[in-house]
Amino acid sequence: DTGAAFDVLNNDADIVAAYGWRTAYLTFEALRLRDKDHQSWNSLLVHFWRLSTAQSQFLVVRNFYDAVVANPARVAGAVGDVTGEVLRDLFRLYALQTMEQHAADFFTSGAVTTNQISLARTKGISNLLDRVRPHAVSLVDAWNFSDFFLNSSLGRSDGKVYEDMFAKASSNPVNNLTFDPYVDSPVLVKRVAGKL
């Protein structure tokens, strides 16, 4: 019913296969251009960049699939059912969003139809954003970055964004300079001891 080689909206394994199909299509197209049409290496560089990107995206999607989708029991054993399902949503979100951004390649290769791309955009990705959104903060917490490591007012783990922004601004060394704004004065600026 999908009208294409793969059912990327309902089958995670088909998503991986669609990425592999697109890479193979681009490879044989490049081979034809080089070996049969005898196009110069230089003229094919842009095609090669597209081909390499496709191959690497295939590998990323396949590795992500192997890690979080291929063996749900193993993942659930490691992180629990809920987290396992969220990881699978992340897989679908990454794979479908990347597919949508490179829709022309997938469509041209026959891996998917335009209707599938349209559905991925309007329903698949949008629904996945809704599903991932409640877990976004927890999913970044899991990276386990300390505040010392991040050195960020906006990304503080305790959420004290505005307090920290204000404290850092107040204590920044420019506030320890005394300005002489009068244009006739030879003194431009000097440091003074003391704080704002």
Binding site: F48, Q57, G110, L129, V137, L150
Partner: protein, 486 residues
């Protein structure tokens, strides 16, 4: 802020601790805590003033931090992984990074046991400080185009290192500008007027006591740049500078001092293995590098309230909407959040492949000498039939390095902009990190250039599939499946 993040955390069923352990392992998490605790106690690693420093202050501070980190490593007994963690947590590169990351690796990989005793041991003990001088002013990633020469002088059994033209000046060399007193220099080897291509030479460039440049060596820092302000990147010119025979790194190639005859003695496929290892690490790091920006942007966008949702307003709701609830923000940040996990698991898979291949190569002695004779300048898949897996790994590492670091670079900028006006403040924590991460898209192979390596490998695989003599691996299986089904 605090309440809002607490609400976010309470609303999610994700088991953060278990997920952290899946990503990093409990052992690594504990190591991080221990290392960061040691850094926080040392005032040298206080980050308060870093963001307001100019280049000159940054370099001075970098030297102090680098020394302090090496002393801490000794005091705390850190292993290599803990030392790496300390570097990442410290927040900026130090002037010793290329000594640790490239100079020592080059000596280890390309030196003979005798040279290990002479050079590697003092380097590991920081008695000599070095850098890896390959890139030249007129030649970036094209090692074959290098112009620095190393001419064998049979009369006194020395090599004469020389920079014949301005464009032969070594350039962009990390840790060379002010720090290094030695350099592993890539130069074109000439014997009796014949060019044998680029080879590595160990060259002392500064006095070990005064730290002044030695005679006929012109060396210095190349100046300010985009990011990496705490690193001294150097230039280096030689004027007919003599070095002893033992200073040619001779694990794979050597010149017989008695006869002046050039010999190959090792398996250069192992050098490709090092490149694969470096790129595999870049792939693995790209996930966490991007995650830094994503963590900041998502936490901030969960706290930040701005405007009111149009439909909610019509329904009578009051108050501003969390920025992260807007679809236009979600569609920029949440796929990047997914990408952090995707890249991390890919990097891990890549490292596993690399380690499996190294084990296999050790067993099979890949790079046998019969084949090695033929392969000056050859690609890894041409080395010998047994190196096919290395060829697959080489192409995979090139493509994934390019894709992973591109996703991270572009994603970090997306995160910064998702933070609106505050994303421009250095206190956001993204801008400085972005600038320091950005060169990853260029070093270890420019991301656009690298894609040719992947394409070349895929074309070769496709030809083999059509000819019916393809080795069995994931790439050829995918191509065969396509041919059978299209």
């Amino acid at each position: 802020g605090p309440d809002l993040l607490a609400i976010e955390r309470a609303g999610s069923g994700v088991e953060v601790t278990r997920l952290s352990e899946l990503l990093h392992t409990r052992e690594l998490i504990n190591k991080r805590s221990r290392v960061e605790a040691a850094l926080i106690k040392d005032p040298t690693f206080d980050k308060t003033e870093l963001l307001s420093m100019g280049r000159v202050e940054k370099i001075q501070r970098s030297l102090a931090r680098g020394k302090a980190m090496k002393r801490l490593q000794e005091k705390e007994g850190w292993d290599a992984e803990e030392y790496k963690i300390a570097h990442q947590a410290a927040g900026e590169p130090t002037v010793y990074d290329l000594h640790d990351g490239m100079f020592i690796v080059t000596l280890r990989e390309q030196g003979t046991p005798e040279q290990h005793k002479l050079f590697l041991e003092p380097a590991v003990n920081n008695k000599i400080i070095g850098c890896y001088a390959q890139t030249e002013l007129g030649h970036g990633s094209n090692v074959r185009g290098l112009e620095t020469t190393a001419t064998w002088n049979q009369a006194d059994q020395t090599f004469i290192i020389h920079s014949p033209v301005l464009t032969a000046s070594k350039w962009w060399i990390g840790s060379l500008g002010r720090t290094a007193n030695h350099a592993a220099v890539m130069a074109q080897l000439y014997i009796d007027g014949k060019n044998y291509g680029p080879h590595p030479f160990l060259v002392q460039i500064r006095d070990l006591k005064t730290h002044e440049p030695l005679e006929n060596v012109f060396v210095g820092d190349i100046g300010p740049k985009f990011g990496f302000g705490s690193m001294d990147n150097g230039f280096l010119l030689f004027n007919q500078y003599k070095i002893p025979h033992v200073n040619m790194l001779a694990r794979f190639n050597r010149v017989d001092p008695a006869t002046g005859v050039y010999k190959r003695v090792g398996a250069p496929s192992l050098v490709y293995g090092t490149m694969v290892w470096v790129r595999s690490n870049i792939v693995l790091d790209s996930g966490s590098s991007l995650a830094r920006g994503v963590a900041i942007a998502i936490r901030y966008c969960a706290i930040r309230r701005q405007f009111q949702d149009r439909d909610a307003e019509a329904a009578g709701a009051t108050g501003e909407t969390p920025v992260l609830n807007y679809k236009m923000v979600q569609v920029r940040l949440l796929p990047l959040l997914a990408a952090t996990y995707a890249l991390h698991f890919t990097g891990r898979g890549m490292m596993e492949m690399y380690e499996a291949n190294q084990e296999r190569m050790k067993k099979e002695d890949i790079g046998d000498r019969e084949t090695v004779k033929k392969i000056r300048g050859a690609a890894p898949e041409d080395l010998n039939p047994g190196a096919e897996q290395l060829a697959d790994l080489h192409a995979t590492s090139c493509g994934l390095k390019a894709l992973g670091s591109t996703i991270a670079v572009e994603g970090l900028e997306m995160c910064r902009r998702a933070c609106g006006g505050h994303g421009y403040s250095s206190y956001s924590g993204i801008g400085t990190w972005y600038a320091d991460y950005l060169p990853t898209a260029t070093w270890e192979g420019d991301n656009y250039m690298l894609t040719q390596q992947v394409a070349r490998y895929l074309l070769k695989s496709a030809r083999a599939v059509l000819a019916g003599n393809a080795p069995k691996n994931e790439t050829t299986t995918t191509l065969q499946f396509y041919l059978s089904r299209k």
